[in-house]
């Protein structure tokens, strides 16, 4: 295929052909399945084909130019940057665990959905366009230049590394899980296979390669998420468009919850002990509570996730790649649009899965049926064998009750195809989608860490005279080391995916939210304030998390998922107090702040 006018001008054509090619591949797999090719081969081909494509894009995008390596040459159009950000943002947790979270967690869990989308309003209005105008390569680059001095830069690097590293281990864990299942290899091997794919995408081309693989990964993950949701909804007769039909289903689920005793009929301690970490359904789908405590918990969770979104460097740095400030703002809108295509579908999927399992009028239901009957269902057997669900007949009556069916939230997405009796090709597609989601996020995070270490720590602090070739070499070596380290930590399986993800948001907002926002919006903010804000906010937040994790009763219900509610106020107060106690920033800095507040003119970094 010959491209007139280069790659950037032909993006529509390139990704159009790619999308059709991918759909063709899915159809080919469906035909192979019908011809009797074993499921294992189909799973292999899905993973191999998609990962090869990403690696190919990664190799084709190799570069030795630092502007290309760090910010993709600042020529990514708003819509494509939106897709890349959506893939960067939607992790293995969003893809695999979100719908399951809504299923098990009910209404209170949906605070995550509000938080993870509302955060983009803060990104668009408070931070991203201004950082784009500033023209930096990394987030610590902004902190270091705005406040001056190596110490401020170093503090930002530390917060970035801790937050991103917490997050990336969860992603590599996710790639390992999916690779292990699809390829039928041990989890530990799966982790390294996943890492190899991730590094292939990012090593040679940095941000440029990651951008164009993330767009490709977004296309795979959204197709893989939406096809099963629509298919299931239509096949089980819930309606043509599940997003519209879900509200009637919610009403029906609420009736069933009363009949079945969701929230009142809890598992016995013995049954729960036997089920281990699997969970029974205990929270209502729409139980918005009147209690002040519950409302406060909803508010604090949503707020922590929002401020975290606006402080996570791997998200913010995506907006450094757009061609203009105007494009950066629009790009935030596109990001949120592409994200919402998946986030709007997750509750619908959770609700229909609930209806399929709970409603006695539906053929697929299991609650209220005999244990013998349920354990003979094929998908129940398959997922029981891998420890994802368990039936514990606590009262010994031979009937499956709501408090006797235990599961891992992940199966809401992973088992949908089997539950609804869809062909195996859909399971392969879901595996490819989960892998794309986890890989794209891991790519962005690893790059954020390696770039901060190579650009801010090595180039700006340790050896400012080093030439570009050596800088980029150091960046690549760091990428390898950090990837290896993350894979090693992921193998230890320290926390579930979601715990680690929520921590990353709170680390980021405790340490970086106010230094970033006030750096743009408050000219008087200075170095002493920023350092106090970062060290104090991050330090107190981390201390509080440690206390809660080691058994302290959380204050006012602020648990480990919400510790930003402790870190952020500390950061704000310290930053304001220390800024006011020390002298105002110099003329030069004040001018810099003025210059980033208007889109007009060249970036600050270019002119200095």
């Amino acid at each position: 295929m010959k491209l007139e006018g280069g790659f950037i001008n032909n993006l529509g054509k390139v990704y159009g052909v790619y999308t059709l090619g991918f759909l063709g591949f899915v159809i080919l797999m469906a035909i192979l399945e019908a011809m009797g090719v074993p499921n294992t081969y189909i799973g292999w081909m899905f993973v191999a084909f998609t990962v090869l494509i990403y690696a190919l894009i990664g190799v084709l995008s190799r570069t030795m130019d630092s502007n290309q390596y760090y910010v993709a040459g600042r020529e990514v159009p708003a819509v494509y940057n939106g897709m890349a950000t959506a893939a960067d943002w939607m992790s293995g947790a969003s893809f695999i665990a979100l719908a399951g979270g809504v299923y098990l967690g009910g209404y209170p869990y949906m605070a995550f959905l509000v938080g993870w989308t509302g955060g983009y309003v803060l990104v668009a209005s408070l931070i991203a366009p201004y950082l784009r105008k500033f023209g930096c390569y990394t987030v610590p680059d902004f902190i270091g230049t705005r406040y001056g001095g190596n110490l401020a830069r170093f503090c930002a690097v530390v917060v970035l590394v801790v937050a991103s590293f917490t997050y990336v281990t969860a992603q590599i864990n996710g790639t390992g899980t999916v690779a292990a299942r699809a390829l039928q290899i041990p989890f530990e091997v799966g982790v390294w296979v996943g890492l190899a794919g991730i590094l292939f995408c990012s090593m040679l081309g940095g941000m440029r390669a990651v951008t164009w693989t993330q767009v490709a990964q977004y296309i795979v993950l959204i197709i893989a998420y939406l096809i099963p949701v629509f298919w299931m909804s239509n096949k089980l007769g819930y309606g043509l468009i599940p997003h519209l039909a879900q509200f009637d289903a919610v009403q029906r689920v609420q009736e069933l919850q009363l009949q079945l005793g969701v929230g009142t009929f809890l598992p016995s301690p013995e049954a729960q002990a036997e089920a281990g970490r699997l969970a029974a359904l205990k929270v209502g789908i729409n139980d918005a509570s009147d209690s002040l405590y519950d409302r406060w918990r909803f508010f604090t969770l949503a707020f922590c996730m929002m401020a975290g979104t606006a402080s996570l460097p791997h998200v913010l740095m995506r907006y450094f790649t757009t061609s203009s400030v105007k494009a950066a703002r629009q790009s935030v809108g596109w990001s949120l649009f592409f994200i919402s295509l998946l986030y709007l579908s997750a509750p619908a999927l959770a609700t229909f899965t609930k209806l399929s399992l709970l409603d006695p009028n539906v053929a697929t239901s299991i609650i209220g049926k005999s244990v013998a009957q349920v354990t003979s269902i094929e998908w129940i057997q398959q997922w029981s064998n891998v420890g994802f669900l368990k039936i514990v007949d606590g009262n010994g009556d031979g009937i499956v009750q709501i408090n006797e069916f235990f599961m891992r939230g992940d199966i809401v997405v992973l088992a949908t195809p089997e539950m609804a009796g869809l062909p195996y090709v859909i399971s392969g597609l879901v595996a490819a989608g989960g892998l794309a989601a986890a890989m794209s996020t891991a790519d962005g995070l690893l790059l954020a860490i390696a770039n901060a270490l190579s650009h801010d720590l090595y180039y700006k602090i340790i050896d400012p005279k080093v030439d570009t070739a050596k800088r980029l070499m150091v960046a690549r070596i760091l990428l390898l080391i950090i990837g290896g380290l993350a894979a090693f930590v992921a193998m230890q399986k320290l926390t579930g995916i979601l715990g680690a993800v929520a921590w990353a948001f709170c680390f980021a907002n405790s340490g970086l939210f106010f230094p970033l926002v006030l750096g743009v919006w408050w000219k008087r903010a200075n170095r002493a304030g920023a350092i106090a804000g970062m060290v104090g906010g991050f330090g107190v937040g981390a201390w509080y998390l440690y206390q809660v994790q080691t058994g302290m009763t959380p204050w006012l219900g602020i648990d480990g998922l919400r510790f930003g509610m402790i870190g952020m106020p500390v950061s704000l107060i310290l930053m304001v107090v220390f800024s006011l106690m020390t002298k105002a920033p110099d003329e030069e800095t004040q001018k810099m702040v003025e210059s980033i507040r208007v889109p007009k003119g060249r970036t600050y970094v270019e002119t200095h």
Binding site: M110, L113, V114, Y120, S125, R295, A302, P347, V598, K600
Partner: protein, 83 residues
Amino acid sequence: MATKSDQLQHWEATKRLTLITLIIWAVVSFGINWFGSALNSAAFPGAYFMAGAGSQLIFVILVFWFAARQNRVDELYGMSEGD
């Protein structure tokens, strides 16, 4: 050539627009969802709708609206990238 006062006025307008955006954001995120239980009725699961879909949809529109308005502010005071 933009004058100093153009730049000041531009910043005043930018601050106003940002404030309006943040007020809408706060009302949608926290105001409406705070009263989630009041949105529920026998006919429609309002709390579920707002938390699972409504808030997101409003945010998407809000960000695009903000981007368009801010561009107009930039152009009005001669502060856009084209000027």
